[in-house]
């Protein structure tokens, strides 16, 4: 069985961000990039599947990113993925077009399962997994907090606003990983060394036969965090009033 794990390269969301001069993107100079934390969970889940029920599973990490995306694919390889594929792409892409590229990779690789993060912590869109599933005509199991194989497919616990929902999906399917699915491992020393010998393939949107067709046009960005200036209030009532004014609590 092949498992495809899309891995997004994202700026470390905990470092302070700056915007470029045109305010159309974050200023990428001197920014630290990491493997999207939810995608690391997806990689871990694929590894767990290989280590428990499917020892023959082949895990392919794929990223749509500029050349530097190789770093994050190497993270996935060091964690234990078998091989990597980088779809080199420099320009910003919306979720729809990332899903189209991933769908083209799926056509090529024919995995039975795609596991990916429920969202990337840069755009927080939470769309690519669903778009990919629909483009492929596959089942989807979003917000997975537990995945188990059955004779005919997967039983997935989903974290919803109303509680845990347990669904069964047949394969092939797209599963999107939620926070509680697992605790991703760090790479061991031997595994890091081994990863250096694992193959990474390179391709482009053109080679995959996909011409980006934008659905979302990003006009501008604005930084929200500013220096805090503490306003002291004198009573619990006043505090509630202030919080209601800032609309962080309702009512």
């Amino acid at each position: 069985m092949k498992i495809l794990v899309p891995c997004k390269r994202v700026p470390d969301p905990d470092q302070k961000l700056r915007l470029n001069a045109e305010a159309t993107d974050v200023d990428s100079t001197a920014l630290t990039y990491i493997l999207n934390p939810f995608d690391a969970i997806a990689v871990e889940e694929a590894l767990c599947i290989r280590e428990t029920t499917h020892p023959d599973a082949e895990i392919i990490a794929v990223s749509v990113a500029p050349a530097e995306g190789e770093d994050d694919l190497r993270t996935a390889l060091a964690m234990g993925a078998d091989r990597a594929l980088l779809v080199e792409h420099d320009a910003q892409l919306d979720s729809w077009n990332v899903a189209r590229l991933l769908a083209a990779v799926v056509e090529r690789e024919q995995p039975a399962l795609v596991i990916m993060g429920k969202q990337a912590v840069d755009d927080d869109a939470n769309q690519t997994g669903q778009f990919l599933a629909v483009q492929l005509g596959w089942s989807q199991a979003t917000f997975a907090s537990q995945v188990e194989f059955t004779e005919t497919g997967l039983r997935v616990h989903r974290e919803t606003d109303l509680g845990i929902e347990i669904i069964h999906v047949s394969l092939p399917a797209v599963v999107t990983a939620d926070l509680r699915l697992n605790e991703p491992r760090y790479a061991s020393l031997p595994s890091i060394l081994k990863a250096k010998k694992k193959p990474t393939e390179y391709t482009t949107a053109e080679e995959l036969g996909v011409k980006p067709e934008p659905r979302v046009r990003l006009l501008s960005m604005e930084l929200v965090h500013s220096q805090r200036n503490c306003e002291m209030v004198t009573s619990a009532r006043e505090l509630i009033l202030k919080l209601r004014e800032t609309e962080v609590i309702k009512g």
Binding site: P11, P13, D14, L17, L19, V26, S95, W96, A99, V121, D123, D124, Q127, Q130, F131, A133, S139, Q140, A141, T142, R155, E159, T160, D161, L162, G163, I164, E165, I166, I167, H168, V169, S170, A173, R180, R215, V216, R217, L218, L219, S220, M221, E222, V224, R228, N229, C230, E231, M232, S235, A236, R237, L239, I240, K242, L243, T246, E247, V248, I249
Partner: protein, 317 residues
């Protein structure tokens, strides 16, 4: 612009957040229809019809909200109706099902919208990115537009004096996909949201003396706000709360909409885990406590007195 507002329900009642989606849709168009899917919808249809004309697909085949079936019906009805805009309130339901429907309808989708403006006839949408550290302004290319809005960003309209019409619509249920089955829903039994994902986090520090006090005050306030609970390291060290609640450098890193720091002095350990929260409010007995430097609102006082007042205030008494 012909707009469908998807109304989420839990099988027996509409969810309260739907109002935001209607409010948003109404600000942009007069041609707004509510849209319900499911089984045994009569009571909910009537409820929805207080706000807008309703079209409804009531069919046993849609008894469970599974993404592939529901998305297909949504797309089919949207196409049949010539909908140019489809709106829902952003929830896990919408993220699962409406996003899949958007995929069937061409993928022009913006999620978690918190604001908008129309310039030269072009709809510009504002949505948070980077856990709220950035607000992006964007436009959608092509129709229909699929938009989910944050429940807190838009007001629900007042119900109309006379209800709007309810129009049942048949869907082609014989060709619905059948590869997903809902097996079980384990409702939440008083469980609080996880501290890393909650919109509001109520966190307690050294000022709380016992587990009971913590549960009663921090937990009580959290429940009033549908919030998660967190704590500083001091309480974990003292065995008052479990390790899983710790926010800070060696614990969880959180960035909720609102972080309420109760009796937390603001050691760097703790700040590292919460300082990116959108709004921070603190209560501490020491008016010079460093936590206030990181707060938007501060109240110098004893948490044992102030927290019950907050709870009472929120409960409207």
């Amino acid at each position: 612009m012909k707009t469908l507002v998807l109304m989420e329900h839990d099988g027996s009642a509409l969810r309260s957040g739907n109002g935001a989606a209607i409010g948003f849709a109404r600000e942009l168009s007069d041609d707004v229809c509510g849209f319900l899917l499911g089984e045994d919808l009569d009571a909910m249809n009537c409820e929805a019809a207080k706000f807008a004309p309703v079209i409804t697909v009531d069919d046993p085949a849609l008894a469970d909200p599974v993404a592939d079936r529901w998305a297909q019906v949504i797309a089919e009805v949207a196409r049949a109706r010539g909908a140019e805009r489809i709106v829902a309130t952003s929830t896990t339901w919408a993220k699962d099902i409406v996003t899949r429907a958007a995929g069937l309808l061409g993928g022009a989708m913006a999620s978690d919208v918190i604001g908008h403006e129309v310039i030269d006839g072009e709809l510009r949408l504002r949505r948070p990115m980077f856990a709220g550290a950035v607000h992006a302004t964007l436009t959608l290319e092509g129709l229909p537009q699929i938009i989910t809005v944050c429940a807190s960003a838009y007001e629900a309209p007042e119900p109309a004096a006379t209800p709007f019409a309810i129009e049942p619509v048949a869907a082609n249920v014989t060709e619905l996909p059948g590869s997903t089955q809902l097996e079980e829903v384990e409702g939440k039994v008083g469980a609080r949201p996880d501290v890393t994902e909650a919109r509001i986090v109520v966190s307690g520090g050294r000022a709380f003396n016992t587990s009971q006090d913590f549960e009663q005050l921090v937990g009580g306030l959290a429940d009033t706000l549908d919030a998660a609970t967190g704590s500083s390291r001091a309480l974990v060290d003292a065995g008052i709360v479990p390790n899983s609640l710790q926010v800070g450098q060696t614990g969880k890193v959180v960035a909720p909409e609102l972080y309420l720091a109760l009796g937390i002095s603001g050691a760097v350990q703790h700040l590292a885990g919460m300082k990116n929260s959108r709004v921070i409010a603190a209560i501490n007995q020491d008016p010079d406590a460093p936590i206030f430097e990181f707060s938007d609102f501060g109240l110098a006082g004893d948490v044992y007195e102030e927290v019950p007042r907050l709870i009472a205030e929120l409960n409207g008494s």
